[in-house]
């Protein structure tokens, strides 16, 4: 009969596939991301300095055994501020990406499942959100709810939803028309069950890729908002805030703070972009 050789064990090399798709550059980017994350998590083990406390007499010091990267205008340890700043920067971007991914996936699944009028309505809402530039929406949120990381994070997440929803909607619609979804619907299973059990796992790769791309953008946007003084508030350490606070020092001939924080932002953003690009690029649920 047609029962062919299925005797070979059904090995699925998910990890192998991932490495293949990322390529050497993508793997290097992944290593950079892992390193930054690890450094952020282990900040207290790497440095004993408090990122928020310094003494004015120690301001603008060069690199030394005590302060490996020197100190800032308030005499705070720059390495500690970079390490703890990574926490704020990564966490903020992670929350943006998580909320935007969840919101985008939810809208996409609802639009794909109900189709017709609901789909058209979702399309209208997305068009409306697209009309607002990301940062404008965040600034608006600050104007209404006040400054702070929480406010700008949620506002940015909302601003990112249309980018994820647009791509996820089209992949979800494609799945919706396939026989396995129709077969499940035919059995009288609920839209929630079919969407979560069947469609969601099949659009998960696009959700993840979109998240990787958006992560870089979210870091830039959050840094910009902190730079403008709307996001993270001093004395909390944050890369965007460090670039901003380094401005004055820059003019006084102490560029370290701005440069170090700027390099961190660029490296992290580039790493996330490379990963996103390698995983699926523009076809995925990210900001194009």
């Amino acid at each position: 009969m047609t029962a062919q050789t299925l005797d070979r064990p059904a090995v699925r090399r998910r990890g192998g596939d991932l490495a293949e798709r990322l390529g050497p550059l993508g793997l290097a980017a992944l290593a950079v991301v892992a390193l930054i994350t690890l450094a952020a998590l282990c900040a207290p083990l790497i440095t004993s300095h408090d990122p928020a406390v310094g003494s004015v007499i120690e301001r603008y010091q060069g690199p030394s055994a005590e302060h490996l990267l020197g100190t800032d205008q308030s005499g705070r340890d720059l390495l500690a501020r970079l390490l703890y700043g990574a926490r704020t920067s990564l966490l903020g971007a992670a929350v943006v990406v998580l909320l935007a991914g969840a919101g985008g996936a939810l809208l996409a699944l609802v639009a794909a499942w109900f189709g017709r009028t609901v789909d058209a309505l979702v399309g209208r809402v997305l068009d409306l959100l697209f009309a607002f530039p990301n940062l404008l929406l965040a600034i608006l949120a600050v104007a209404v709810f006040g400054t702070g990381l929480g406010q700008v994070t949620v506002a940015l997440a909302i601003a990112y939803v249309p980018y994820t929803a647009r791509v996820l909607r089209s992949v979800a619609l494609r799945e919706r028309r396939l026989g396995y979804v129709q077969a499940a619907e035919l059995q009288g299973l609920s839209g929630l069950v079919v969407s979560v059990r069947h469609i969601l796992p099949n659009i998960a790769p696009q959700i993840l890729t979109g998240a990787a791309i958006n992560f870089g953008y979210a870091m830039i946007d959050l840094a910009a908002l902190s730079f403008l003084g709307l996001g993270v508030q001093p004395p909390t350490a944050d890369w965007g805030l460090m670039v901003s606070q380094g401005k004055d020092s820059l003019l006084q001939g102490h560029p370290q703070q701005s440069v170090f924080a700027g390099v961190c932002i660029v490296v992290a953003v580039a790493a996330f972009s490379v990963i996103g690009e390698r995983l699926g690029g523009r076809k995925a649920g990210g900001r194009a």
């Binding site: 009969m1 047609t2 029962a3 062919q4 299925l6 005797d7 059904a10 699925r12 396939l178 026989g179 396995y180 129709q182 077969a183 499940a184 619907e185 035919l186 059995q187 009288g188 299973l189 609920s190 069947h198 796992p201 099949n202």
Partner: protein, 280 residues
């Protein structure tokens, strides 16, 4: 027309329109236009017709995936709701199941064969655990697959095997009617023959009724005693397979028959360029 008792499907005056295009190019397509049809219990009715003639729309309305604009469907003696809700669809699925054309897309590529079949068992017969595993084994055996296939993912199966799984999944609901929408169209001719034989065996063993949708007239002869011919949403001819295919009364059926490749059919080679293409 015969009486309700012996017809498992009775359709009368079924209508369905679709709006296609946008703006000025918007128009309505009559996918089904006053379709009436009765299918005797235990029989196999083939539905043929060119692309766009409304075959899939008919199937989707029958199983409750689409709602009709007008007309009536009586399934196993019960009239069905025109706009089926979820509970109604579930009840209907125990009477009628469907096998889709694309073997590749008809199974969730991230779920095992076993999971696909168990889902249907749980939905309709509340069968779970060891009992479900045993039923999966039985169903796989019936469609000519081995127990080892239970843990396979669709990607690890051939097209023919995937379609066997789709058939097993449909049978798991223990329906009276199976709607097969171009169920063998995507398969190689030899695999097609195997699956057709399998379907014939299953129909015998389970006394099922088939609504067999195809555009392939050679398949019609293999599976079915009776055939209806659809064109632009209407039924233009109905009769026994031999009668309709050998002595078609409707001009459209003749056209359909004469444009289909048959044994002894040879492509006409008019120019050298064509001949090369055919040989290549």
């Amino acid at each position: 027309m015969s009486t309700t008792a012996e017809n498992v499907i009775e359709i009368s005056g079924l209508r369905k329109q679709f709006a296609v295009g946008r703006g000025k190019r918007r128009r309505t397509v009559h996918a089904l236009d006053d379709v009436s049809l009765a299918v005797a219990d235990g029989s196999c009715l083939a539905v043929v017709g060119e692309s766009g003639s409304g075959k899939t729309t008919l199937a989707r309305i029958l199983v409750g995936l689409e709602s009709a604009d007008g007309g009536e469907v009586v399934l196993a003696g019960r009239p069905v709701a025109r706009r089926p809700r979820r509970a109604e669809r579930r009840a209907r699925a125990r009477d009628i199941q469907m096998v889709f054309q694309d073997p590749n897309g008809s199974l969730n590529r991230r779920r095992t064969v076993e999971a696909a079949i168990k889902e249907v068992l749980a939905a309709h017969h509340r069968v779970t655990g060891d009992e479900a595993r045993r039923r999966v084994g039985e169903l796989l055996d019936q469609v000519g697959l081995r127990p080892a296939h239970a843990r396979a993912l669709p990607g690890e199966l051939s097209g023919g095997q995937q379609q066997r799984v789709a058939i097993a999944r449909a049978l798991a609901a223990e329906p009276r009617v199976l709607v097969l929408d171009e169920a063998v169209a995507a398969l190689d001719v030899s695999v097609q023959a195997q699956v057709l034989n399998l379907l014939a065996e299953i129909r015998q063993a389970r006394r099922l009724t088939y609504l067999f949708i195809t555009h392939d007239l050679s398949v019609v002869r293999q599976v079915s005693e009776e055939v209806v011919v659809m064109r632009q949403g209407r039924i233009v001819e109905r009769g026994s397979t031999d009668e309709v295919l050998d002595r078609p009364r409707h001009a459209y059926t003749m056209l359909l028959r004469d444009s289909a490749p048959r044994p002894g059919w040879r492509p006409r080679l008019s120019t050298g360029a064509d001949a090369r293409e055919v040989e290549a």
